[in-house]
Symmetry: D2
């Protein structure tokens, strides 16, 4: 449950960097996503047309504050997004480092506090830091979105132990891996760890065939979720026989 | 193409170790597999019943020589399997090491030579060794099945570089990762490397919910295949902006 | 240079958990460490004796605030440590999470600000978070001590990409990997990445033979440092011939 | 014990690809190696001079059959090496794949059988394959030299689980990791797994400073060996307190 909303598909898809609006729409459709993120900052002269386009997808919109580097910028952007998109949902990004696009934990917590107090449903883009996670919950967030790796890097889950630790530490909080995913198998892995959803953009938008890749991620996230629910076998150090052998003597 | 047969689903499923025949049938169905492996050695008093059961699945049968440790045992088992199951397909296992169930490359090549000469369509369970692979092709095999990890270990693709190297070295040979897969994400990863199929048993049969896990693997393998075809983004050392930022000045 | 002090050995050794004071002294000697950390909180009735013991090692002392969970606790402990040990060096730990002993980035930065203003030379135990690192530098720290993994876990460098990124982002700041190192090879790896030192405790104190392990780590850190300076070869995807072959024809 | 010879230093060093003979000699000296490998095929007009050079190092020579692709080539080269270098030691390489320089397990075992029968002390360059290892022991080898990764790749121990399995399977056979090591930490890791020695060439010869790198590897291998002997701590999933906290109440 993400702020009272239950989702069948656990893939959230970004809408930037696609080769064309048509490809974007087809990719959303192929992915099965029910939530798409959208940057307010694409809104200008062409904003109305883009909004009309996204409305066709019939997905729930999750506006984001991508590109914001300060509390003030992020809060202002969130408020504008609420008006423009008519939703209290906001993916809160406050970027601390221009190269890695690492979130700034200090500004993030402060902005979350302001926005939660104003009634926003905040989806904070954060790191796997447990203490930052706790502060975000104290600020009023009911979802956490740790990164898998730096935005656009495609490195996958680069701190696997840290993400496992986060899942264990917040057993009842919806956790979404956001950023860094480059391949369907990595998205499946996040779900197998027990994460509740995966948010993607670059890996789909920049694929040779974005529509085919969107479909691939849709299946991968479904696979990981089903695998988690079905109970993965434990890894073993030594091999064991998987085919039981009956009647060995018969062949002697 | 596996010996002239084209498969839609690239999951091959083993039939051992399931809690009940009914669960096995449902798992096969849920997985979408079109090929199932079966050990001749389960055939005894109950053999007929088990064969009748498998017939219900309408899958193509791939009999195996699981549990064989010598050329003679494997060849004899293969011949019996051909009669019993009425197929020239044979998954050739010649186990060299009792703990890891590692194939014996020497006996494997020799048995493959004998069986290919007798008209079998041999699917050899082998390691990622390139030279052993070449010898198997020389012997007449038209498919290779390298292990991901020891049978039943669930370790996944433990020699990733070796498997990549194998894919590059045999660009035109159908390659199936056989053994060692423990989680859907690992199966997806194999397909993303360009492998043609994945053969599984323990990870499904020993899951808490085998039917749910079979479905998960079906989706994962589809996801990996679709991802490979759609062209994965390259991994990057440094992050790059994934949401383009327009109109930044408007917010200043 | 660590606050104006140049060190030959880049191993810093903790003094807790040893089987006996004698073993501790021998381990320090065998390791070649020139800096040892010590917890003020061991100081009680037996404090004087322990101080006398450490004095024998002729190492520079780096008192720590281990076990502190708040700014107030950490600052108070640091002040007492300065009096008791007669040094302005302080390893600042403000623990945020009882299980993983993760630092609390918020309290850490605040405590660092207070202590730097009071003239302490602060060695902050932090994560690989770049923004937290920047805040610590702004607070006046001239050294950063990111964790390799949770204290006492022996997992090594669990977020390798994050540590690499930190080294690249702070090229002129002395960086010490502190916590999580379990094996000499992991300490060597940290130095090969260009880190300036490694701080250890559990891996030595809890070894079967702490003195032998201290010696091993001393050699490993030297090896990693020498390797970094000598310029590591790049990793290659494909193999290349390492033994040049002359006169092949002679053997034909 | 390597064929009755006990070695203090567990580093074996290759002699190819150095910028100059002088650098080679200094690198050998700095590394502390007591065994150096040498290719017969460098022996031509300049062979005598090169032999004289190596004699200065006072190391035991381990001639190799680098560049040989067939049993006949390898056996002929080994016989010539025995005459030229006056030693029954031979590092047996029979290359099966030109790109990865993977050993050919079939030709390797056959050549080993011939050479052992002729009284050679064979050091076979092999893979981590357990069955190939067993065949080499049956052929008369008393040492095995599995690769870490393809020759010259610097990838380190790319099949860690396979190498662990090999160590466990051959507890009483001297095992030397040969090829693929690119960094001192990787050599230390091999020794920590319980391997008996490491053979290197490219990583030293192609370093920016080969002499410094040779020293680094010497220390790393010593560190790994000492660490193995001293008993590594087990890795833990969750952190535990490494600094015991006494007198917490005093600070409250």
């Amino acid at each position: 449950m993400f702020y009272g909303v239950d989702l069948t598909s656990r893939l959230m898809l970004g809408t930037a960097q696609y080769p064309s609006p048509q490809v974007l729409l087809e990719a959303i459709e192929a992915s099965g996503a029910e939530v798409i993120t959208v940057s307010l900052r694409r809104e200008g002269a062409a904003g109305g047309a883009f909004r009309a386009l996204l409305a066709k997808s019939r997905c729930r919109l999750l506006p984001n504050t991508a590109g914001c580097h300060t509390v003030r910028e992020a809060v202002t952007t969130a408020r504008m997004a609420r008006e423009v998109f008519g939703t209290s949902w906001i993916k809160l990004e406050v970027i601390g480092h221009a190269d890695t696009l690492q979130p700034d934990p200090f500004a993030l917590v402060e902005a979350a506090r302001v926005l939660c107090a104003e009634g926003f449903d905040v989806f904070p883009y954060t790191t796997e830091d447990l203490i930052v996670g706790e502060k975000l919950l104290e600020a009023g967030c009911k979802v956490l979105m740790p990164w898998g790796a730096p935005i656009g890097s495609g490195q996958g889950l680069r701190n696997l132990a840290g993400l496992r630790s986060m899942r264990a530490h917040f057993p009842d909080v919806p956790l979404v891996v956001d950023a860094g995913i480059g391949a369907p198998s990595q998205a499946a892995q996040a779900m197998e760890l027990g994460f509740d959803a995966v948010l993607l953009n670059t890996a789909v938008a920049k694929a040779v065939d974005p529509v085919g890749m969107a479909r691939a991620f849709g299946h991968a996230i479904q696979a990981g979720q089903e695998g988690f629910v079905a109970g993965l076998m434990p890894e073993r150090d030594m091999a064991s026989v998987s085919t039981p052998v009956f009647g060995l003597a018969e062949l002697a």
